[in-house]
Every structure is written in C-alpha cells, then in structure tokens.
C-alpha cells in the first residue's frame, strides 16, 4: 500500500494556495477601462519594451489605428487573459487524465500482457477526472453562457442582424454552437467518461478480491471495448466544442485526432513519470526496466504521431492557401512565432533525438527529462490552440498563466496521490499479472 507522505501533501496544498492567490491577483489586475490600458502600455514603454516582438507588433498596430478602438480591443483581450489561462490549465490537466483513461481502456481491450503492473498508477491518475472534470464543466458553462468573453459565438449579438457584431457564418452554425447545446454535450461526454472510469476501477478492485473464473476481468474487457467506441466519437466532438470553436469560422477535419494525439502522449508521459517517481521512493519493485522502456517507446511513437498530424494539418492548409483556412496559421506564425515553432521543437525534435536510442529509454533520468519537456510542450500546444482567438497579440506568460498551472498541478498531485493510497499498488487478480511481472525485452 502506498501512503501519502506529509511532505507531498503539504507541497501540493502549497501549490494550490499559491496558484489560487496568484490567480486572484491575475483577475484583480485586469484593466477595467481604456484609460488603464493606456497607462499599462505607457508603463511598458518606459520599461524599454523588453517584452519581445509581440509587444512591439502591438505598438506598431497602435500607431496605425490612432483612435480608441485599438485600446478597447486590447482591453477586451487583457480582460480575457486570466480566463483563458485558467481554461488552458484546467483543460491541460483534465486531458492528461483523459489520455490515461483511454490508454487504460486500450490495455483491457487489447488484453495487453505487459502492462497490468501499471494499472493502479493509471487508475490513480484517472481519479483526477472527477474534480478536474467538475471544475472544467463549471468553466465551460461560464464560457458557453458568455459570463466571460472566451467564445465569440456565445455572444448573443453575433446572431442579431441589427447588431454591428452580426456574423452570418456563426449564425449558420448556431444550431450546434449555442450555450445550451454546448453544455448538454459537455455533460454527456463527461458523464460517459466518468461512468466508464467508475465501473472500470470498481471491476478491477473486485477482480482482486475474487479472481475465480475471471468474471470481473471479462466485464472490464467488455466495458473497455464499448468505452473506446464512445470515446473516439465524443473526444472528436469535444475537440470541436471546447477548442476548435474558439475560431468558429475555421475548421479542420483532423482536429479531433490532433487533440487526441496530444492528450494521449501527455497521459502516457505522466504514467511514466509517476512510475519512475514511485520506484525511486521504493514502491513498485515489480516494475522493471522493460516496462519503463515500453512506456518510453510509446512516448517516442506518439510524439511522432502527433507531429504527423500537426504537419498534415499545417501542410494542406499552407499549400492550398485558402484565406478562410490559412488565417489560422497566419495568426499563429505572425503573433505566436516562438511558442508555435518552439512547441514543434519540444514535442518532436527533442523526443526524437533523445528517445531514439534503445538504451536511453531504460535510463530513468533520460525518460524523466524527455517527459518534462514533452509535458511542457503539450501545454504550449494547448496554449497555441486557445490563446490566439482569446487574447490575440496581447499574450505573454504572466502571473495568471503560471498561477493557473500551479493551482491545477497542486490539485492533480493531491487527488492522484491520494487515490493511489486507496488500493494495493499491484492489481493481484489480473489474469495477465504473471506475464506482466516477467515482462522482458
């Protein structure tokens, strides 16, 4: 049995408190009026403009505009910024748990023999789906009903022909993109995922108590196969709703896969990091180098899969050069050059070179290093999906971004490691356990 050390508990609580305080400061610091925006921008100029090209680009546009329209625009972007950073962090940690849930279901559906020793770690990570999902659901509801201004389509004015904000394209999509439908779909997606999580974990525990005839294992197999069908549809729709609709004029048909690759690789990386951490603390002595090697192979492979989808999406849009599509990448390359290309280096070039060698996949600190870079890279990936449509040129990694990550990281660690104490670390009833223990490559 794992016991949660006081140090880890304290560490996660401190992270949550610091994150929460930082986030409150971030929300309180939002400019309330155009005058405040002007003051802030003047202060930035006094600093000597040491805030990178995004800031410089913003000033260039300001001169061209002249009037207050630009300041109002910046005001809205800066008012969005803490909300957007909260959204990115909430989604990022939720998607880690969701990726692990999908990976867990695949282990059952494919009757994998190597992985049962890791099942309890996976079950613990998916425990975050409950609190993380509830928080994300509240944020989604607030955004879908336009309490904040994250989603353009949630603004009732875009459907009003007489309004200056009227948007014919969004009006055409309103039967799908409306607050009520959005929140009903979110409830269905999350409800289905949580339901599977509840029963899969329950059956796994029951199988430990009574492995006679593998009755519970067979049930796990059935619901896992069913869940995967449900998941791949709902995950795809989730990516349209929760992420692609930030740019409601733009669409990409492989977006669901692209988000899936991101959440899958983040989830697998988290399993590897947690397993290595637990081993370093003297737990999970039954996990050997070959298990770590296999997880690292998955990290390597899915990183390349992610790149394949990222590039497929990019190249087709770049080559055809259709204005309504290509605007997505023009915004990102002009205003988000560093995170956009930096993320490709972190998510592709780095894991490719570091994890290519077979022996390196068995060296724990190599896997940890690659894993941390991959996780940071996929945070930036989500950041690039959300920020351009919500804060535009006014982005920077500031107090609200860092605090939001700390808050959810603290919550994630707290929930996951507490869930780990609830059951023995070895799923002793699993019929493939012996094969998994003797797994060698």
């Amino acid at each position: 049995m794992y016991t949660l050390s006081n140090r880890l508990r304290l560490f996660s609580i401190i992270l949550m408190v610091v994150g929460l305080v930082g986030l409150i400061i971030g929300f309180a610091d939002r400019p309330g009026s155009i005058e405040e925006v002007k003051e802030m921008m003047a202060a930035h100029d006094a600093h000597g403009g040491g805030h990178g090209e995004a800031q410089a680009a913003g000033h260039g546009a300001e001169d061209a505009h002249g009037g207050d329209a630009h300041y109002e625009h910046v005001l809205h972007q800066l008012q969005n910024k803490p909300w957007a950073s909260l959204y990115v962090a909430a989604f990022f940690f939720f998607m880690i748990a969701l990726g692990v849930l999908a990976f867990y279901a695949i282990q059952f559906a494919s009757q994998a023999g190597w992985s049962p020793v890791l099942f309890r770690v996976m079950e613990a990570i998916t425990a975050y789906l409950v609190p993380g999902g509830l928080i994300l659901f509240v944020i989604l509801a607030l955004s879908g009903f336009h309490v904040n201004h994250l989603f353009v389509w949630a603004n009732p004015d875009v459907l009003d022909v007489t309004s200056k904000d009227y948007d014919a394209l969004i009006t055409g999509k309103a039967s799908w993109l409306n607050g009520t439908g959005f929140i009903i779909r979110a409830a269905i997606f999350m409800g289905g995922w949580l339901l599977y999580r509840h029963f899969a974990v329950k059956y796994s525990r029951k199988q430990d108590e009574d492995s006679e005839g593998n009755k519970w294992y067979k049930k796990s197999f059935k619901i896992s196969a069913g869940f995967l069908v449900f998941f791949i549809y709902t995950e795809s729709m989730m990516s349209w709703d929760w992420i692609m609709s930030f740019d409601p004029h733009w669409f990409s048909t492989l977006f669901g896969w692209y988000v899936f690759a991101s959440l899958f690789v983040s989830g697998i990386t988290t399993i590897a990091l947690m397993t290595i951490y637990l081993k370093s603390k003297g737990y999970m002595e039954f996990v050997n180098d070959s298990h770590i090697h296999d997880l690292a192979k998955f990290m390597f492979g899915i990183s390349i899969f992610w790149t394949y989808l990222w590039f497929s999406q990019f190249m087709l849009i770049w080559y055809s050069n259709i204005p309504e599509e290509v605007t997505y990448f023009i915004t990102r390359i002009e205003d988000y050059k560093l995170p956009f290309f930096g993320m490709v280096v972190m998510n592709f070039v780095f894991p490719l070179l570091v994890l290519m060698n077979s022996d390196f996949k068995r060296v724990n600190w190599f896997v940890v290093m690659a894993g941390i870079v991959i996780l940071c890279g996929h945070y930036i990936d989500i950041y690039n999906m959300v920020m351009p449509a919500t804060v535009g040129k006014s982005w920077f990694i500031g107090i609200s971004e860092i605090s939001a990550v700390l808050l959810f990281l603290g919550l994630f660690l707290f929930v996951v490691f507490r869930a780990l104490t609830k059951a023995p670390l070895l799923a002793k009833g699993n019929p493939y356990l012996e094969e998994s223990k003797h797994f060698h490559y």
Partner: protein
C-alpha cells in the same frame, strides 16, 4: 584439423532460453543457435555483443535526408523553378513544407533498404547461397544449439545438455571448412 561440436535440439523456445543460460553458466562455449523464428532475449542470454545495425540505420537515414534536400533543391529550385499554387519556387526554405513528405520518405527508404543490405552482407547472405544450418528441422519447428566440445569431457557435456531438456544430442566431427 577436425574439432568436435555437439548439436543439441530443442522443441521449445523457453526451454532453449533456459538451456542457453545453464550451458553458459557452466562455462561452455556456444558456437551458434539456429532457430526457426527470432527468439526475444536470446542474443543477451548468449552474451553476444550489442548489434550496431541500428547505428548504421541512423546514419543511412541521415544520408537519405540529405539526398532528399539536395535533390529537391536541384529539381524544384535550381533546375526548373515553377509556380505551383501561387508559390513560386525561388527559395528552398519558403517551399520547404512541400518537400517534407519527400524528405521523410527518402529518409525511411535509405534507412530501411541500406540497413537490410548491410544485414545481408554482415551475415554473409546472398542469393543462391548454400544454407549453413546443420539440420533442416531448424527451418521448421526445432531449435539447435551448437556447443563447442573443445577439450571438455564429451560425456559430461552430453549429460548436462540432456538435463536441460534437449530432445536429441549429436556429437559431430567438424572439418574446418566443411560448411
């Protein structure tokens, strides 16, 4: 000069793996193991040095990547620039995304083909070559371990091998170039 070798046949890869470990633990020299299919971990159990084939593959891949870059630069930029889809080919870097699939394919092509050819050369395999395996059953369902008898006591070695689960043991006088 003739040397004595012992051929021990097995019918299960797990039994073979255990046998290899036991024979090596007794400090006998295993010349070769013939298998109908690749057995995971056998190279480690036999104490063979780690293969360098992967390193050659990486280098071949790099060569393929460079060939693709130079080739596309010559074909599409230098020799015959065209305007495709409103993207005039006057600069390699600006047209690079269009060449990425070719770079990828040639990297894989070079790495895979040259690695296989290297493997054939390294294992001295070529078309119409006489098979080296001493017993045709190793191409079907038997595993054969060839142990160098050397100066050891043959009877002792034979009994050790039969203890490890060999189904058949033969002592062979091997001529040096009698392949």
């Amino acid at each position: 000069m003739a040397s004595k070798v012992i051929h021990a046949l097995y019918i299960d890869d797990d039994v073979l793996m255990d046998a290899v470990k036991k024979v090596r633990a007794e400090h006998y020299h295993i010349e070769e193991v013939f298998c109908p299919f690749p057995v995971h971990g056998l190279d480690k159990a036999m104490g063979l040095p780690h293969t360098r084939l992967a390193i050659t593959s990486f280098m071949y891949g790099c060569v393929g990547l460079i060939v693709a870059i130079l080739m596309m630069n010559f074909i599409m930029i230098e020799d015959w620039p065209q305007n495709i889809g409103g993207k005039p080919s006057f600069s390699y870097i600006e047209n690079m995304p269009a060449f990425v699939p070719i770079m990828f394919e040639l990297t894989v092509f070079f790495a895979a083909h040259l690695m296989v050819i290297t493997f054939y050369m390294r294992s001295r395999l070529w078309p119409f070559k006489q098979a080296e395996n001493p017993d045709v059953r190793t191409t079907d369902d038997h595993f054969l371990m060839e142990v160098d008898a050397g100066n050891h006591d043959v009877d002792q070695l034979t009994s050790l091998l039969s203890d490890t689960g060999a189904v058949e043991i033969k002592v062979i006088d091997k001529e040096d170039d009698n392949h």
